[in-house]
Symmetry: C2
Subunit: 228 residues, 2 copies
DNA sequence: TCAGTAATGTGAGCACTGCTCTCGTAGTTG
DNA sequence: CAACTACGAGAGCAGTGCTCACATTACTGA
C-alpha cells in the first residue's frame, strides 16, 4: 500500500513544485525550465515527465495550489473576526489579500496576471478559484442581512439588472442590485490597487503603498459598502 | 539623406512589429519567436538583429507603442467632450479604456499584466506611460475646480496624508486628499474590472460584462467622485 | 515465494529557440 | 571613384520541451 514508491513520489512531486516556484520567482513563469529543475535534482530531464505530463500541466498545478493558498489565507483572516463585526471582517479580508499578494508576488502574477492565449483553464481550477470569492460573497450577504445599505444606487441602464439577475443565479446568492454593484466595485478596486502596486505602476508615486491601500479599503468598506 | 535604405529600414521595422503583434495575439508574449518572424519575412533570423538588439528590446518597443496607443485613444475620447461636461468626460474616458482593452487584449496584457521579474522598465517607457494617467489627473483637477466634492472622506490613518502629500509633489498636481483617494479608487476599480474581464475571472458570471462596466463607471463618476 | 507487471529513471535524439560571429554585397558619402 | 557603413546570409553554440527505446526496481497476485 503505502510503500516506498508512494512516499518517494509525493516527495519528488513536491520538490519539483518547490524548485519550479523558486524559478518562477526569480526568472518569471515564461522562463521556467524543466531541464534546469532536473539538473538541480540530479536526475534526467525526461524523468520529470513521469510526474507532470508537460510544462503547462506543472504550471496548472501550481496555479491550483496558489488558488488554494490565497483561498485559505482569506478564509482564515475572515474566520478570526466576530461574525457581527462586518467592518472588521472587510478590513481583515482586504488586508490579508494584499499581504498574501506581496508575500507571494509571483503566485499572484500567475493567477491574476496575463493569461496565455488559448490556455483554457482546466475545470480543476474552478473550485479552488471560488474559495476567496465565496468569502466576499458571504460577507456581502451578512452585510445585507444586517440591514446595512451601500451608499450608492444602480444607474438604470437597460441590461444591467438582467445581468445582475444572471449573476445571482450563477453564483447562488441573493443580493440586491446595489449590493452586487458595490461589492464588485470594491472587489475590483482592491485587486486593481494590488495589481498596480505589484506590477510596478505606482512606483514613482508612493513610497508606502500600504498606507494608501488601508485608506482605500476603509473607504470602500465603510462608505461605499455602508458597513457599520 | 532619405535614401532607399532609410525608407526600407522603416518598412522592415514596422513589418517586424506587425508580425510580432500577430504572434503575441495568437500565442502569447511568452511564445514570441524571432525566428518565426524571420521565416515569415523570408529572411535570415540573424538579420532581425540589425533592427532590434534582442527579443526583449522588441517587446519593450511594442510596450512603448501600446502605451502611446492607449494614451492617444484616451486623450481623443476626453477631447471630444465639452470641458465643462465632467461626467461626460469620465464616461468617455472609462469607456474608451475598456474598448481599447477589448480591442487590443494582448497589448493590454503586455502593459498591465504580469511583468517579467527583473525586467526593469526602461526610462523610455515612463513618458508614454504617463499619457493616459494625465488625462485622469486633468479631469480630477477640473472636477475639483468646479467645486464638486467626492462623497467620501479620508480615514485618518497616520501616514496617509503624508503619502498623498508626496503623491502631489511627484505628480505635480494640487488635489485634496479626498480627491486623490477617490480618484485612485475609481482608477483602480476601472482597471480591476477590465483585468477581471479580460483575464477570464468573470466568464462564468456575466454574459454581457459591458453592461456591468457601464453601471460601474457611472456609479464611480457620479456618486463616488461626485461629478455633476 | 516467485514470476509477471507496472512504475520509475536513463540517455540519445528531434525540432525548436535566442543570439553571435564571420563574411560577402550593396547603398551612401566625402 | 574610393572608403565606409549598413545590411543580409549562413554556420554554429548553448539552451529549450518533449519522445522513445531501454534498463531497473518496487509492487502484486497466484
Amino acid at each position: 500500500m503505502t510503500g516506498i514508491r508512494a512516499k518517494a513520489r509525493l516527495e519528488t512531486t513536491s520538490e519539483i513544485k518547490r524548485l519550479a516556484r523558486e524559478q518562477i520567482a526569480s526568472k518569471g513563469a515564461a522562463n521556467l525550465s524543466l531541464r534546469e529543475i532536473a539538473r538541480e535534482m540530479g536526475m534526467a530531464s525526461s524523468a520529470l515527465y513521469r510526474y507532470f505530463a508537460s510544462r503547462d500541466q506543472l504550471l496548472t498545478d501550481l496555479i491550483i495550489e496558489s488558488y488554494d493558498d490565497i483561498g485559505s489565507t482569506v478564509e482564515r483572516a475572515d474566520a478570526k473576526c466576530s461574525r457581527e463585526d462586518l467592518a472588521g471582517r472587510w478590513r481583515a479580508v482586504s488586508q490579508s489579500l494584499r499581504t498574501w499578494a506581496i508575500t507571494n508576488p509571483s503566485d499572484y502574477g500567475l493567477i491574476f496576471g496575463t493569461p496565455v492565449p488559448g490556455y483554457e483553464a482546466p475545470t480543476d481550477t474552478i473550485a479552488p478559484a471560488l474559495r476567496y470569492t465565496n468569502v466576499l460573497l458571504r460577507l456581502l450577504a451578512d452585510v445585507q442581512a444586517a440591514g446595512c445599505r451601500p451608499l450608492i444606487t444602480v444607474p438604470t441602464t437597460k441590461g444591467v439588472s438582467r445581468e445582475y439577475k444572471r449573476a445571482r443565479a450563477n453564483l447562488g446568492i441573493n443580493l440586491t442590485d446595489e449590493m452586487i454593484l458595490a461589492g464588485l466595485a470594491g472587489w475590483a478596486a482592491l485587486f486593481g490597487a494590488i495589481s498596480f502596486e505589484l506590477f510596478g505602476h505606482v512606483d514613482t508615486v508612493f513610497t508606502d503603498p500600504g498606507a494608501h491601500f488601508l485608506a482605500l479599503s476603509e473607504m470602500l468598506g465603510s462608505q461605499m459598502l455602508g458597513m457599520k
